[in-house]
Symmetry: C2
Subunit: 405 residues, 2 copies
């Protein structure tokens, strides 16, 4: 699933400004009462191709609708994201505020407003404090730096406890191509809800349609293969911008290495979101193999990853294979109860649907570690999927119950 | 949805032995280490019609497979249920044990083994202690009483904290007909998982096919309209037995009052399961109205009811309408974001997808009560659904994390 091993690539420092031809900033404009950074700007030096995938939530926030429209032509030169206010459930006024954000950003940068991607994350149902937002955009536009990616990444955080960035480079016919990204998210959370947002940049040139299809493929293996609490926010967005500054041109036929790099950056960002999951004490990788199809493998893996019972058992450090087997059973995947095998780490606990004599010390070591691997073999075919989840602790309840609107 | 108000019926004492012509017992045979009751028997004085709905989990336990077979002819005279061991993930040996349970019960009662419904709930992956089980069945068969329903209901409990029974009677053309039931379940829980089980009896005569279709209809409004943690166990079963002892014959055309009584008993039992939800401190009734279809209403209502974020907000006594709106948005129901209204009790918080000025004191009183009503009006059509859920507390995590296999 993760093809990074098949292609030579190396991890490099930074995030969205690691590739050539990008500048970014993160400033505080007072949307957050804490005074933390809350306005993030990313700009390509030149017009660029871009593609994005948005939340499927029917209550999608105003900036989601606007950014879909702005990306319809496959072009974008800047991304403006505020944190602290999601501009969701804000009606027509909210949509006008999103348009205003694009206009102010465009004016400050000398870019057509239609080439601006707008995103917001934070509290919902509250009108945007547009005076602060406008001042923040102008301030950010004056503070753009070629190494500003870290500040931009910090400015999109809400309840995240650490900055999430990843970048790689690889050789493309003698040209060094870079892919970098930033993300935020730790569940769909306080104030009212949070959001999974990610911005990926590259200095390769990629045509919009190909860029979109490669992004969809990468998201399937990364952001759509993680879960913290199973809730889908109104503001989720992943956008990729390709400005071609490296001189490398990725086209159908030579795209495999770039796909691998894009996959790698998205997967690492997705894994960072799970590691920052609300109240998480464990990071759990779930492989389902031997499924009748890849789709079935994903369904079974996500059923395990989303089960509150499985997640609380991991928090309790109990190798509760019964809950895993039950989750596989109620997923819509094809399952033969008399064939299912379950492994914790390398140790097989269940064979052909029945518990076997296993080494309790070895399983105990697996379950007590911070990083845990679980494998389920359905022994029906060659379908496989890998997903990541975290455990479910008292602190998840604390974080989500104690916030007051 | 609940038609009980349209038909005259009265609540009566007891459960499965409230209708005429049934005897039951509950004994302790040592399957549970606690020494609590763990063998439940219900017997009709005469052969009876019966119908059941079983778990859709593909890892369904051995007794589920056997009982499906035994009920294929629409006939059953007795139900034997042990608690403490689920006889799940036990392979061919487990299936033979389930057959043995039917045989021993049949022999003790002088009934054909094929007319016995068998069910098990408790720990999974452990072979049944058949010596104890056989002794328990024989003991139970010797202690059958016409008022034994309460003992039978107690003997099916696992982590339940109280016995769950309900019964009603109504006039059917001058004949008093009774419907009674017992249930167990408080989530899918420790030891390895628990189960939702319910047995309903009536002294009306109902042909098997009609009985099945009426049961399916009742379950849709009751057991399939509740959620504690969204997990579906390997052992779930709801069975209804109709022995005709009252002399009343329910047929297509005169079935409405019986359907209402069956609905009422199933709904009350389902609500008791939610009230006993693991760690629950709140009982929440969710109405979705104005949906494009009844199916859409159910999808939106269950998305709200299953959301960890919604459930933790109720535990925190916070009127977090944003999480409710988001859950509606990611359900697969048709939604127009600019039309959604949300009420807590009688107080409207959201109108046309936007928060409105609401009376905080009134909403505070709603959210601080133990029983809470939430209504969502999608304003698209006449589809409606009512579901019940509980909140999500520290104790849910505690109960599910602290058990060790």
């Amino acid at each position: 699933m993760d093809k990074s091993k098949e292609f030579e690539m190396k991890e490099i420092k930074g995030g969205v400004t690691a590739p050539q031809g990008y500048k970014a900033s993160g400033v505080a404009c007072g949307i957050k009462q804490s005074g933390n950074l809350d306005m993030s700007l990313l700009v390509s030096d030149t017009p660029a191709n871009a593609a994005a995938v948005f939340t499927t939530n029917k209550m999608a926030a105003a900036p989601v609708h606007l950014s879909k429209k702005h990306l319809a032509d496959g072009q974008a030169q800047a991304v403006v994201i505020n944190s602290g206010n999601a501009n969701a459930c804000t009606g027509d006024g909210g949509y006008e505020d999103a348009i205003k954000m694009a206009q102010v950003t465009g004016a400050a940068l000398g870019i057509d407003a239609h080439d601006i991607v707008v995103s917001s994350t934070g509290i919902i149902g509250v009108p945007m404090p547009m005076d602060k937002v406008e001042a923040g955009i102008k301030d950010g536009a004056a503070k753009l730096y070629a190494d500003g990616g870290g500040c931009a990444a910090e400015a999109i955080m809400t309840t995240d406890t650490f900055v999430k960035e990843h970048a790689v480079s690889f050789d493309f016919d003698g040209i060094e191509v870079k892919v970098g990204g930033m993300a935020k998210g730790s569940g769909m959370i306080a104030p009212n809800m949070a959001t999974m947002l990610a911005v990926v940049t590259t200095d390769a040139a990629v045509a919009p349609e190909l860029l979109k299809s490669m992004l969809v493929s990468a998201i399937d293996k990364s952001f759509n293969s993680i879960t913290v609490d199973g809730d889908t926010s109104t503001n989720d967005m992943v956008v990729v911008v390709a400005n071609g500054a490296s001189g490398a041109e990725v086209t159908t036929g030579n795209e495999a290495a770039f796909q691998a790099a894009l996959d790698k950056v998205c997967i690492e960002l997705a894994k960072l979101i799970v590691r920052d999951g609300e109240g998480a004490t464990k990071f759990i990788e779930i492989d389902v193999v031997g499924a009748a199809s890849a789709g079935d493998a994903k369904k079974a893996a996500m059923a395990i990853a989303n089960s509150n019972l499985v997640k609380t058992a991991f928090f309790g450090q109990d190798p509760n294979w019964g809950r895993i087997v039950a989750a596989v059973g109620y997923s819509s995947a094809e399952v033969d109860a008399s064939k299912v095998d379950v492994y914790y780490g390398e140790e097989k606990l269940v064979e052909n649907g029945r518990v076997v004599a296993y080494d309790e010390a070895k399983v105990g070591a697996v379950i007590q570690a911070k990083d845990i691997k679980v494998k389920v073999d359905l022994k029906l075919g060659s379908g496989a999927a890998r997903v990541w989840t975290c455990d479910f602790s008292y602190d998840y309840v604390k974080i989500n119950a104690e916030y007051h609107t």
